[in-house]
């Protein structure tokens, strides 16, 4: 048993099942201690494969630690801890256990070095995240979770087909670097990309995440997409078309976030945007770019959780989620305002925040590779991040016109979760060396040069100028913007209903036709087999003898014919 408990992911998953039985202080302690215990176990695991399991003739290694997997497992455990603290006051008793199953499975994916284990934990993540969505307990969350699970089951089927194909092609289950050179590998890549929020199915993310509870979205933002980044980092580094997928995601996220009115959906679109930077880095594929993508995933989880915590605090206090109904909250929520603003600066890669030391490695990799168009796109996107998340979110939620709302700052557990993550955003930005030491490759990069700080400040501050100059164009309206989820919310259900109606009609007419046919058939049978029917009639012996004699004569005649 103790051997099983050293797996940090399983520890968190099993611990999650104990949480519903606890109450009061014991529960709070367990919520905070479980992820820390997982972190402790993780850091006491030596590098290399620890478990070897033979399964159907394949060698599985469900627990294998190296630098990359330790980095991701560490941030997943840290995130579970911070999210658990923030969610301590959550009324739903399902949410934290579900979130810990979700987080534990994400750690399980990070620590697995065979595709079968990756797939098992991958599906468990879909279950955990769906339960987190359900625990919000609203009707919109319920219908959104059905769409969410539909997309993830589809992704799971694609991934399963890919993994099976890979096993048949190679006879080896090891999760190694692959290239999109066979149908199986393409399927695996597509399965990974669906979870990363890549086009064309990206809308599942901004559709579902904002429907979770005020604390649920904090958990949801962290694991699914970043696990996808992890598996792409390990499986498909340097796959060039990922650059273009990443750049598409970056701009898609910005444009939709600019149009959005729901504060948490703005942040959900900006998850797609930020993951786009990571995927572009994976596509570039140099050591600098891969380090940048991994580091950016690490810092992103922290500042995105912080942003969603501040949004969650506003939602919990006011019950409102639309920018057009919020504003002026800095009057009465100073701590939330400051923490949210720190998160906004970090996501914008402001100097002295964590985003600055991580995202610039991806940009640097584009420069090192002489990729001018990629670099220009990344620079424009960096400015756009400040526009849609760095200023727009805090401006419309905490400042702008005064909505007259005066809710206070949230209770201590939520406050301290925000303060802790805000501290990490600044600390990693000021002192990046500990993060750089965790990265998979040796880091040869100095983020703080006068030129870099200056150019970044120019880019961001002038993007801020653009925001305020064009503010009338950005005025929030109570609208939504159609995304690809429209396809599976409006035309597809209509098509299915129409097809079902047509099917029913056709089935009815076919049944009617079969009935007449069967009636005619049975009438025919009856006619021939009635007592006086053709087949059951009695024949006179004389006519039988006459027919036999006729046949014999015919035979005799044929016999003598030449």
């Amino acid at each position: 048993m103790s051997e099983w408990l050293v797996h940090p992911g399983l520890l968190l998953i099993l611990g999650a099942f104990a949480l519903p039985w606890l109450r009061g202080g014991a529960r709070s302690v367990a919520v905070l201690a479980l992820p820390l215990l997982a972190l402790f176990c993780l850091w006491h695991l030596p590098e290399g494969a620890r478990w070897q399991v033979a399964w159907l003739g394949y060698e599985l290694a469900p627990l294998n630690v190296d630098k990359l997997s330790r980095l991701f497992a560490t941030i997943f455990a840290l995130m579970a801890c911070g999210g658990g603290l923030f969610a301590l006051r959550q009324q739903s008793r399902l949410e934290i256990p579900a979130a810990y199953v979700y987080a534990g499975s994400a750690i399980g994916v990070a620590l697995a070095s065979d595709l079968v284990t990756v797939f098992v934990f991958w599906e468990l993540m879909a279950v955990g995240s769906t339960l987190v969505l359900w625990s919000a307990g609203t009707k919109t969350a319920w219908v959104a979770s059905r769409r969410y699970v539909m997309i993830h089951l589809l992704g799971g089927v694609v991934l399963f087909a890919g993994v099976t194909g890979h096993l048949l092609d190679t006879g080896d289950a090891a999760f190694v670097r692959m290239a999109p050179d066979s149908v199986a590998h393409w399927l695996i890549l597509v399965g990974f990309l669906i979870n990363a929020g890549a086009p064309p199915l990206s809308a599942w993310l901004p559709d579902a995440y904002p429907e979770a509870s005020w604390s649920g979205t904090v958990f949801l933002s962290a694991f699914t997409t970043k696990t996808a980044v992890y598996v792409l980092l390990r499986g498909f580094p340097g796959t060039e078309f990922l650059i273009w997928i990443g750049l598409f995601m970056v701009f898609y996220g910005i444009v939709y976030a600019l149009l959005e009115n729901d504060m948490r959906r703005i942040l959900a679109y900006s998850i797609v945007n930020q993951v786009g930077f990571m995927i572009a880095g994976i596509g570039i594929g140099t050591e600098m770019a891969l380090n940048g993508a991994a580091a950016h995933a690490f810092t992103h989880i922290i500042y995105k959780a912080l942003l969603l915590m501040s949004a969650g605090a506003v939602l919990a206090a006011t019950g409102r989620r639309k920018c057009s109904e919020l504003g002026g909250l800095f009057h009465s929520m100073p701590i939330t305002t400051i923490c949210g603003t720190i998160g906004a600066l970090a996501i914008s890669s402001f100097p002295l925040t964590s985003g600055f030391v991580s995202k610039s490695m991806v940009t640097q990799a584009a420069i090192d590779g002489h990729l001018l168009s990629v670099w220009l796109a990344l620079a424009a996107a960096s400015a756009g991040v400040f526009l849609h998340a760095g200023i727009k979110f805090p401006w419309f939620v905490f400042f702008q016109k005064d909505s007259g709302l005066r809710p206070g700052d949230p209770p201590a557990s939520m406050r301290w979760a925000m303060i802790g993550f805000a501290f990490l955003c600044i600390a990693l930005g000021v002192w990046p060396e500990p993060l750089y030491r965790l990265l998979p490759y040796a880091v040869d990069y100095v983020p703080y040069t006068a030129a870099h700080v200056l150019t970044q400040l120019q880019l961001l501050l002038f993007s801020g100028l653009a925001f305020f100059v064009m503010l009338p164009w950005l005025k929030r309206t109570p609208t939504i913007t159609l995304d690809v989820d429209w396809l599976w919310r409006v035309p597809l259900p209509a098509l299915a209903r129409a097809a079902a109606g047509g099917f029913r009609r056709r089935r009815e007419s076919a049944a009617a036709r079969a009935e007449t046919l069967a009636g005619r058939l049975s009438a025919g049978i009856r006619r021939h087999r009635e007592p006086d029917g053709l087949l059951l009639r009695s024949w006179p012996t004389g006519s039988m003898a006459l027919w036999v004699m006729t046949m014999l004569l015919a035979w005799l005649l044929l016999y003598y014919l030449p």
Partner: protein, 118 residues
């Protein structure tokens, strides 16, 4: 800017949209928290001061290029104040694209509810 000068407006609260409070036994403080008085940011003259400060910082970041070697890698980087005007124009372009896309794809936020949606 203008937003601060305007009178306080109360957005319409739709009770159906109210999310669950943190806990029934320990409800989060709703109204009457801190800061009912006027904040220094509510004074138009302070906001004006902040604007001037912001413009001064903008000018300073561009002028600082004269004193700091930027080590351009690409040719375009050698253009004076590239990051400043490129950042501004890129943002303006993205806002315009968003605006254009909004014309096509914006719907009232009751769009899916009206449809019954499941």
């Amino acid at each position: 800017m203008k937003a601060h000068a305007g009178p306080p407006q109360m957005g319409a609260v739709n009770e159906m949209e109210r999310a669950q409070p943190a806990n029934d036994r320990h409800p989060l403080p709703r109204e009457g928290g801190r800061g009912d008085g006027r904040h220094w940011l509510d004074e138009p003259k302070n906001v004006k001061l902040l604007w001037r400060l912001f413009l001064a910082v903008l000018a300073a970041t561009v002028l600082a290029e004269l004193g700091i070697a930027l080590h351009p890698h690409f040719e375009v980087e050698a253009l004076f104040g590239l990051h400043a005007w490129y950042g501004f124009l890129a943002c303006a372009a993205m806002i315009l694209v968003a605006k254009g896309l909004g014309l096509l794809l914006k719907r009232p936020d009751t769009y899916y509810e009206a449809d019954g949606d499941e």
